[in-house]
């Protein structure tokens, strides 16, 4: 499974059906209405799923699953 596919799976688990429509370039913050608590949960999900530790600021400008996959790749996930 690719990083992108695993991220789509995580999004589905955390956000339910509304995450199904997310493509690699969809702005998921807008599409899912993510708030600060969910942003923290997302970071924990990513750290758990990929065994990486990503500093918060690396996620601050990332708004697409494709962008997330790129960040995770930089940290060896």
């Amino acid at each position: 499974m690719t990083t992108l596919e695993r991220l789509q799976q995580l999004a589905r688990t955390r956000f339910g059906e509304k995450a199904d429509a997310l493509g690699p370039d969809t702005d998921f913050f807008d599409a899912l209405g993510i708030d600060s608590l969910q942003a923290l949960d997302l970071l924990t999900d990513i750290e758990d799923a990929f065994g990486v530790e990503v500093p918060d600021w690396e996620m601050q400008d990332v708004r697409t699953l494709g962008g997330l996959a790129e960040v995770i790749g930089r940290y060896g996930g």
């Binding site: 913050f29 608590l37 923290l40 970071l43 924990t44 750290e47 530790e53 918060d56 600021w57 996620m59």
Partner: protein
């Protein structure tokens, strides 16, 4: 927030199993520490003194987390409301002394203090958790000291307590970068003693408390005092630095900016605009 939630006391103290007292933070949205929570925490310390339990459990009933730290909106409004600088500094110093007394009382409680944590454990909330002897965190717990983005350092005793419990490199990383630390990573450096599934921290804390009660109270008391001394000089120095920093225009601007934030990462400085 509903009217019922506004009327609810910021925390509740309840007797648990024989010899256990549970302090539940319950102020929406995330147990922010302003004047009301401070007074409630002072009341909780008095209740602990009166009940003289063997073990204290700190936890939160608020879904968002254990505690998001100081009530920055109240702090900002309070700083704007007092025009005289000397009066303003005195009010801040008074708050600081009171919250330090609360933290010190919890820290030096003669028996074990167990913190059951989940979700947001930031700033003053992290500092409150650091008064505990043992921390149990649900896996979604995240710890951070975001104070530097306000032009401040943690002011409720957090740095000396973190230095007591964590490696120096981690202390610098949390202070200087403002990054958040997940429960599993926190457990790797023993900031957290147990990581549990969501919703399981309080139950695990109660089972731990039951275990702690099986040991000799007098020996526990002497052992705790021996291995966990209060870092008195560092606490005083942290207060001094905090008071030196807080009454500056840059801090007032940062507080005003924080109050206006609606993005998903308000604990970080604003992202640089895209080129």
């Amino acid at each position: 927030m509903t009217a019922a939630a506004e009327r609810q006391a910021p925390l509740a103290v309840a007797a648990g199993e024989d010899g256990v007292l549970e302090v539940a933070l319950q102020r929406l949205p995330c147990n922010e520490i302003g004047t009301a929570m401070l007074a409630a925490l002072e009341g909780a310390c008095d209740a602990i003194d009166a009940a003289a339990p063997r073990v204290v459990i700190l936890h939160s009933t608020v879904p968002a987390g254990f505690c998001a730290g100081a009530d920055l909106r109240e702090l900002h409004a309070g700083m704007l409301a007092v025009e005289d600088p000397a009066e303003r500094r005195a009010a801040i110093a008074d708050f600081l002394e009171r919250i330090h007394r609360v933290m010190d009382r919890l820290d030096t409680f003669p028996g074990p203090v167990v913190a059951a944590l989940h979700g947001v454990c930031f700033g003053g909330g992290f500092e409150l958790a650091l008064t505990a002897d043992l921390r149990i965190a649900e896996k979604n717990t995240r710890f951070a000291f975001p104070e530097l983005r306000l032009g401040l350092i943690p002011g409720f005793g957090g740095l000396p307590r973190l230095r007591r419990d964590a490696p120096a490199g981690l202390v610098r990383s949390l202070l200087m970068s403002g990054r958040s630390l997940g429960a599993r990573r926190a457990a790797e450096v023993e900031l957290v003693q147990q990581v549990v599934a969501p919703g399981e921290a309080l139950g695990a804390a109660r089972r731990l408390a039951a275990q702690l009660l099986r040991y000799d109270a007098h020996a526990t008391r002497l052992g705790k005092a021996f291995v966990k001394p209060l870092p008195r000089e560092d606490l005083d120095e942290e207060k001094r630095i905090f008071l030196e920093l807080i009454d500056r225009p840059a801090v007032r601007e940062a507080l005003a900016d924080f109050a206006s934030r609606t993005d998903a990462h308000p604990w970080l400085p604003r992202a640089a605009p895209s080129p």
